[in-house]
Amino acid sequence: MHYRILDLTDEKGFLCGKMFGDLGADVIKIEQAGGDRSRLIGPFYHDIPDPEKSLYWFAYNTSKRGITLNLECHEGQDIFRKLVKTADCVIESFDPGYLDQLGLGYAALNEVNPQIIVTSITPFGQKGINKNNKACDLTIQGMSGMLSCNGQYDISCFLMAGAETRQAYLQAGAQAAVATSIALWGRHTLKQGQHIDVPIAESMFWGAWAPRPVLCYEFEKTIFKRRGELVTYGRSVDFRDSFKCKDGYVFSEVYVGGQGHYTTRLVEWMDNEGMSEDLKDMDWPGIDGREDVSREKLDHWEAVIGKFFLTHTREELTRAAVERGFFLFPVNNPHDLLQNNQLLSRNYFVNVSHPELHDSLIYPGSPYKSTVNQPQIRFRAPLIGEHNKEIYGELGITEQNLVMLKQTGVI
């Protein structure tokens, strides 16, 4: 991939540039002089809070080169415009209007380079009615439907994967990369660049599959009730839950109606071990989920199945699910993932060298396998100003001038 991408984002948009960098694009992370504030996001390597040790920064800034540049002074703005001439895209996540104030908004950059694509990632978009509201990953996950997916109805609601992983921001970063890719290809058809507006709220709305609850409410006035909810597909119904087993938890989905034969397979196994109780008398595919399933029945089935799962380990249950063909997966943590046979067989995890830490760290590797152009971490995230000399040199700024720019706070 031959693109050059200027990445001005903070944590709201890190992932976008990483996806291009891992595909081989020349992504230049531009930080404020002295380094971005988002370098102070934990967790930290060996728990040492240091701007060069943020694991969040490491995770989502791989395969980027890094420079420092003060965009709030004229000299910095001039340098930025020079960079824009050499670039295909700018990705940014400032408040709406901030870059315009600096004379670096889309209209201004388009004059410098008519082919430039500017991708703006903000909580509520450039024009949305909420655009001046204060927002963060938590509030966005709440208003976009994600919180209402996790927890127990009326008792709790939870962020997807906790506060530290920032799923709304990751969704926005990834969907911004999609939009940017469409616009990059669009230069062949439209013969011009464009401005892309990526609201994080809408990104999380899709990430939470919120069209489903919206349409459920519009069509049937039903509201999903999170935990243990029956999900109906015509006359078939499934319910899903986590179950305790001998050495941890598994997650299973039990069907009646159309896909009831999966449940029959599980119950046959339970019966072989004398633990099926009255479940063996049920005609699982024959049950009409719309009429024959009450909360009480469901609780009973779950209790019988739960008792059986307690007699087996995660591995035994998973193996049986594969061999017998019913729906069950282990509830994994990172430790389990690193030992997962499927991921091991596909050489998923990679070692990334961090020479200044005298260490190398294990990262999730390529998000997909492909015959050509497989994305991969090419090198670790940049240190503060690591590539100043290299990149400013390419622009023709002499080392002597770099020293002066550094002293005046431009870089």
Partner: protein
């Protein structure tokens, strides 16, 4: 339809069901690609027969699950038990730029469409196989769904509170991660083909895309050996930082305070100035230490108020706060309507339904909402206009039951 769109001229054939791969096709179509979904009346996309249906009345053309994942597509219905239907499928795929395969690993090979075979005929084709666990490896054929894969990938363990049983999640979350990687991959493959004439095969799976969204947590384990310590909605960087129960059944708001000034603003907005001077909460570290009491006190204030009222009061005071929406709130929230993200459109069998565009907006490529196709709605068009069959050919094949 506007005159020019970004992906105009790109031909896509989609063989898939459920979410992950249909969503790929939908977004390519939304930006101008010609997307043909090959369907079957005897084995329709499971989502075509899944609720919700308008007024609760089922029908293969009435599913709300199907409608928002399949707009911008042509639908042709083929009976693939017939060799001639397989021939038509092959013709469609052979003329395509992008072939989206969302079936379980091994299925499309039956029709001669495994990449090894396909690339002999069309070395420049871009083929995407989307699956749970990838096309190779010991668990490649394990039965699964995104709703369960989120346990496998690590999301379930990381959600909720570590000292409680893992939470189930209603959303099949990894289904909404894979498509983004696949789309970026497909578009970079198009660029690569433009430069080299070479095609690409992408094997994309939820088990490999999912952990990308947990990378920092995985690094915390590989670098620091720290097991997941899920703390619900609480954060190491803000306090309070939680969802609070408000007045009414399952009504909630979210509140996040990032510094001491915001804390004072919150106290004054809650009209609890005594809290502002309370040493248990006056600094960030103090609030973290006494977070149970803190959350309880805030909860006592929120339970008497509506989430909307709280949002307005706190935003005015400069505190980050919002409403937690369920289905009813999401469908009524003006924010999602005013930007054109949600729009009500007409559908011949569903009536007036809400439709959703992608999250992003491109300044030079505005999109127009389009409804999803009826099952087999475009069979004749695809056969005669796209494949160039004569009317006679088409009718003969129709009589032979090749088109369902």
């Amino acid at each position: 339809m506007q005159s020019e769109q970004c992906l105009e001229g790109i031909k896509v054939v989609e063989l898939s069901a459920y979410i992950m791969t249909p969503l790929l096709g939908k977004i390519l179509g939304e930006y101008g690609a010609e997307v043909i979904k090959v369907e079957s009346k005897t084995h329709p996309d499971v989502f075509r027969v899944s609720s919700p249906f308008p007024d609760g009345k089922p029908g293969v053309n009435r599913s709300g699950l199907f409608s928002h994942l399949n707009s911008y597509k042509y639908s042709i219905s083929l009976n693939l038990t017939q060799p001639k239907a397989v021939g038509i499928l092959n013709r469609l795929v052979h003329r395509a730029d992008i072939f989206l395969d969302g079936f379980s690993p091994g299925i499309v090979a039956k029709w001669g469409l495994a990449y090894e075979d396909l690339s002999k005929v069309r070395p420049d084709i871009i083929m995407v196989s989307g699956s749970m666990q990838g096309q190779t490896g010991p668990l490649s054929k394990q039965r699964g769904m995104g709703s369960l894969m989120q346990a496998m990938v690590g999301f379930i363990r990381a959600t909720g509170q570590a000292d409680q049983a893992p939470q189930t999640s209603l959303t099949p979350y990894p289904d909404f991660i894979s498509p983004w990687y696949a789309l970026v991959g497909v578009l970079s493959a198009l660029e690569h083909r433009r430069e080299t004439g070479q095609g690409t095969y992408l094997d994309i799976s939820q088990i490999e895309t999912g952990p990308q969204f947990l990378s920092s947590m995985i690094l915390d384990f590989t670098a620091n050996g720290r097991p997941v310590s899920s703390t619900g909605n609480r954060a190491t960087f803000a306090s309070p930082h939680n969802a609070y129960h408000c007045k009414g059944e399952d009504r909630w708001c979210t509140i996040a305070v990032f510094n001491d000034d915001e804390w004072l603003s919150l106290c004054s907005a809650m009209e609890k100035l005594d809290l502002a001077n309370d040493p248990r909460f006056s600094t960030f570290l103090a609030r973290k230490q006494n977070e149970d009491q803190l959350d309880q006190l805030i909860g006592e204030w929120t339970i008497a108020r509506s989430p909307q009222e709280i949002k307005i009061t706190l935003q005015k005071a400069g505190v980050t706060a919002d409403v937690m929406f369920n289905g009813d709130g999401l469908s009524q929230e003006p924010y999602f309507r005013e930007s054109g993200f949600c729009e009500t459109i007409d559908h011949p069998e569903m009536g007036r339904i809400t439709s959703f565009r992608s999250s992003f907006m491109l300044s030079e490529n505005p999109v127009k909402m389009q409804r999803s196709p009826l099952l087999g709605e475009d069979t004749e068009y695809v056969a005669t206009e796209i494949l160039g069959m004569t009317d006679e050919e088409f009718i003969n094949l129709l009589n032979e039951g090749v088109f369902e």
